[in-house]
Symmetry: C2
Subunit: 760 residues, 2 copies
Amino acid sequence: MAVGKSVTRKDAAAKVTGRARYTDDLPMPGMRWACYVRSPIAHGRVVRIDTTAARRLAGVEAVFTFEDVPDRPFATAGHPYALNPDHADVADRRLLTGHVRYQGDEVAVVVARDRLTAEAAAARVAVDYEELPVVVTAEAALAEGAPALHPGGNRVNTLRFEAGGKVDEVLERADAVVESRYRTPIVQHCHLENHIAYAYMDDMAHIVVVTSTQIPHIVRRIVAEALELPLSRVKVIKPYIGGGFGNKQDVILEPMVAFLTLQLGGVPVKIDLSREECFTSTRTRHATVMRGRAAAGRDGSLAALDVEIFSNTGAYASHGHAIMGASCTKSCNLYPRTAVRFAATTHYANVPAAGAMRAYGSPQVIFGIECLVEEAARAVGMDPVAFRIRNVARRGDVNPLDGHELLTCGLVECLEEGRRRIDWDARRRACRNQDGDVRRGLGVACFSYGTGTYPSCVEIAGARLILNQDGTVHLQVGATEIGQGADTAFSQMVSETLGLDCDDVHVVSSQDTDVSPFDTGAYASRQTYMVAPAVRQAAEALKGKILAHAALMTGQAAANLDLRGGRIVFAGTPEEALLSLSDLALDAYYHKQRGAQLTAEASCKTMTNPASFGCTFVDLEVDIPLCRVTIREIFNVHDSGVIINPLMAEGQVHGGLAMAIGWALYEEMLIDEQNGRIYNGNLLDYKMPTFMDIPDLGCAFVQTREPTGGYGNKSLGEPPIITPAPAIRNAVWDATGVKVDEIPMTPKVLYRYFSGAGLL
Amino acid sequence: MAVGKSVTRKDAAAKVTGRARYTDDLPMPGMRWACYVRSPIAHGRVVRIDTTAARRLAGVEAVFTFEDVPDRPFATAGHPYALNPDHADVADRRLLTGHVRYQGDEVAVVVARDRLTAEAAAARVAVDYEELPVVVTAEAALAEGAPALHPGGNRVNTLRFEAGGKVDEVLERADAVVESRYRTPIVQHCHLENHIAYAYMDDMAHIVVVTSTQIPHIVRRIVAEALELPLSRVKVIKPYIGGGFGNKQDVILEPMVAFLTLQLGGVPVKIDLSREECFTSTRTRHATVMRGRAAAGRDGSLAALDVEIFSNTGAYASHGHAIMGASCTKSCNLYPRTAVRFAATTHYANVPAAGAMRAYGSPQVIFGIECLVEEAARAVGMDPVAFRIRNVARRGDVNPLDGHELLTCGLVECLEEGRRRIDWDARRRACRNQDGDVRRGLGVACFSYGTGTYPSCVEIAGARLILNQDGTVHLQVGATEIGQGADTAFSQMVSETLGLDCDDVHVVSSQDTDVSPFDTGAYASRQTYMVAPAVRQAAEALKGKILAHAALMTGQAAANLDLRGGRIVFAGTPEEALLSLSDLALDAYYHKQRGAQLTAEASCKTMTNPASFGCTFVDLEVDIPLCRVTIREIFNVHDSGVIINPLMAEGQVHGGLAMAIGWALYEEMLIDEQNGRIYNGNLLDYKMPTFMDIPDLGCAFVQTREPTGGYGNKSLGEPPIITPAPAIRNAVWDATGVKVDEIPMTPKVLYRYFSGAGLL
């Protein structure tokens, strides 16, 4: 019925008309405001803290310093609980700290009757610091004798693996070896809705946390851990949320508001971060530096990739090394017939903590790989598209690292579709031998990505369906709508399996961990894939119950009956309705002697993680004297399996492309390497592309049918952001002959490269 | 484990500390207030209505008159939908009316930005009425030529039945026949929390109604019916509620707030009735007049009861004739070996609409019966207790009306326990031949009651259980905690079946009709009985899933395992724990390859309706010159099957006794028979007994084990209110020799009776 159709988003009208209520739209009587006291320096220890003046301010109800909070460290990363303690996230946070590790670190918190008072009081907390040496870069942080941010030193972890061959031997024997160093910046997610959460108690035992989160069930666990409470004493509610991009896959404010309401007798306490706080004191994308080598054969083979990468997780681990673990291993599906070696190190530094951000490290890793591959192709004199078609994954390939076969892979078709669509050969020819100020170039880059986190983490999703009296159904899931359209996709799946109109599937969009089926949340582009089996199983179970009741009502064998278009029909002659679903529902609810409320629930674990694939093609102009890049055409081609909703899928791709253009050309959080000071922690000084900076965006899909997916689908949410940056970099190279190995390619950076190359 | 124990109420601390949030504690930004324009006369037609002045007031956003609302009539009674349209409630209400039928009827509604403005604007709506003749009593309303309140006339319905013999023949042959007329007043429920509801929309399609109701799932249907919307477009949330006693088993404000938000673009609109509005414009207890005859034999047999009763439902039918239907038929279990005949008529009149109130007509009907039985006992010279023991129901008796056998009945034991406890024989002897101003008397009265509404209505309940990661469970039910302790009783049942501590059972106390299991709500003393099979079935299913997962983890056969005290044990040697439930839960949630979230849900219909029984004993003094009754001792003895929670059960009995004393001695809504004016529609002029007026209250239980009950229990919520009034009346007769046949027995009434008897 509905899968594959561009049905209108469930929440579209509610959101554009302003009816949708977000966390800040849900007030409570007696709500208190809490405001952090933040460190003005990037590294130091509090030697004296005086809260007297803050406490004296009328309207201030409490001040807690780092000395007043539980000493228990906890991890904030939004991962499911790991049964194996060795796999647990790094527990390096307390609610507040006396050892400040970045400019903005939290040393105290003030609770007051209103926001202004809380802010004014926070400003009155007098803190003296003993300053400590600051490390900002990988080099500085990992240098011998560097000041340690945490007891174990600044190296969080190093991952090393080699697969598909002996890389050193391949490099030695190769026809061509290329080597380069790449650098990617710290950027911020810049979701529309800042971090906000409040907590209160309706009784003596249970804390209710209302929060803008991607991961309500994980928030529940982490709040309980941070406060040393049984998990069932915490209830998390997720209203509509205004975007997250991974930044709300971290548990940042919730333990604090829960702590405060517990301390203050259950009164509601809210923290509503300003944009500036959200910028510097939530999470960022990890900056990376990478040294890579690639080996190619004259036959066009990509023989080896050798990658050493350093990932800067900032002041706290947050998702820490998981980012490198996930992105390096996921990239092994891209060139599965190539020998690969990775050495990836995650380190602390005195900058804001980095965490999950759309595509979770893959943009950084794939940026390096797709720059290297471009160089390898050139080194053996091959067209970059042809070289990639020669080497990328195909169906039936086996991942060299984990030995899994690719059951679906449409990457070659994606590249061919992109090449046709951009008229690659003709335009490339037209770009040869340019010498004007403004030069044109074409670029391409490929990616592979995963669908979920298995086998690193458990993959579990739940769905519950309720047949209403009017023949419609309500769908309750633990997976979260965070703006990506998940609820609509889920409703299409129910519609497909139950033979109902999509409008007759009502989705409970808010999660309440006390009653929502368990699901770990929105991340890893997992939801549409992981929820599918749960939705399908629940829908099939409900359908079975419906047909059984229809059998009772009609005296027919259930096996002869089917459900189509909201009607009970004979399976063989579906044109004629025996019974409407609403009449059936009324009977099930209200017949005095038979029936019951018909519901079905399923909780499913998934033990597969299919790779999705795709590529970006770009056609751009570089104005060399102005050091300005103008994109003429850019599009992605994706293999995400079956596309559940083409219009929403297109929206995801457009969003990812735009975000990637920001990362490639504009955005960087500027931090002083000497003292860790943040120069542009706000939307005025930080350059995010706006509508004026973004060209028309394109997309296409090569649809495969993933057999392990409930409805044939694979990941789509994050992938669109992965390859625009390397494609743009490769096109700039194509246009100018200058190989820019760092992003963002701002005019300042390009000026340095173009000057160095003698173009200016 | 927990059934039969006086575990502490789940909500006790939350309520006494003020943490529990009720509807009025849940604000919304932009909340609008709505205020009704009410009729100052009891019967008439609006001939002109001018809203100009109201609309001009700053802050007024809308005014709707009876001409602006849907013309569709709907029924407000909180009954489940009836598949048979002949069984539907009387649909005689519109949202507003131009034909006003009682003083307080709603002709218009004003919506404003705040309450004061709404009230001020409502006062500025100018309405001219054409006055119509007023009928207040049964006699006037049913007289020929009486002005008809509704198109079909003032007789709503008449029920006639005869069972257990031919009453006329028995009366003719009887040794003694007694006859009297009885009168009971209009009273108000006076629950702590007034009626309050608000509605809003979070999207374009769905209306959310938050309301203090006993019956959220029924509210959902009736709002949908009133607004002609599909049921699934309405969602009803029930927060903590401050009592209902049946008055919130009616759908009074919810259709209006839903209509207003729909009209006003989804903004939240609240109606919060004042105490005075709640008094006169919600529901009341039906006033009745009854003419009864009883026949007795010299052998002590109660041979026949012949009852004609008129029940005044006021301006609108509301629960209408169902009250008489239920109370007359339920009373047939009391003296099942007696021939009975009932003729019960429900009629309209120009007084506030009567609806459900604790025990749903039984106090009125049983008042008459137990006065008559007292007279019959005296007529054949028998002790009232002995006469009752001779005639009341015993186990194995068959209900003469429906032919059902009484599987449990402890009424004789209740009477014996009461007689012993009050030292009946000795005290009765001491009361003989009194002649002072202050005279003492003893009284007794018996009742039977039902448990639920089957077979009049469908009986259905649902429960869902979720095993939490910490080894506790959450219980979600559709049945409502309205202050009676239902949540605690349910948690005890779960505890009993799952072998968990009661504190480890968390109950979701608020209902949300989108996700709460279906249940028709709190009425008919049905919940503990109806919910039991659903809770038990869900708990057993969850236990099965837990043991199956334990089998996976331990390699043992599930059949050899059991769950005790939160641990998995060998069924045979339960002392040693194989596994804690929390370790099992963690494995089920987080093991990567096995398990799932463990939940279980059950929706159960019940097709039994066991009778519960009991009696009141009272010892009192009458000060004849002061016309004052002072209760020295009063208690009930109940057969409610197994008592789930003795302390809570005692609380129910105390509450019912206190409320009954109010009905017997103090409370009456005074209405002018000429013009329908209400004289005391407020808590200042209406005399509710307070702490000072209520003596120490007693109670005892005779525990039977009802085999059709999930945990052996039968109804208990309403029964305590049924018999104190006739017991008090019989004791006053015993003390003074004066047979008072109307309540409340205020000094004014007693003066009339005592004067008439020559005592004054």
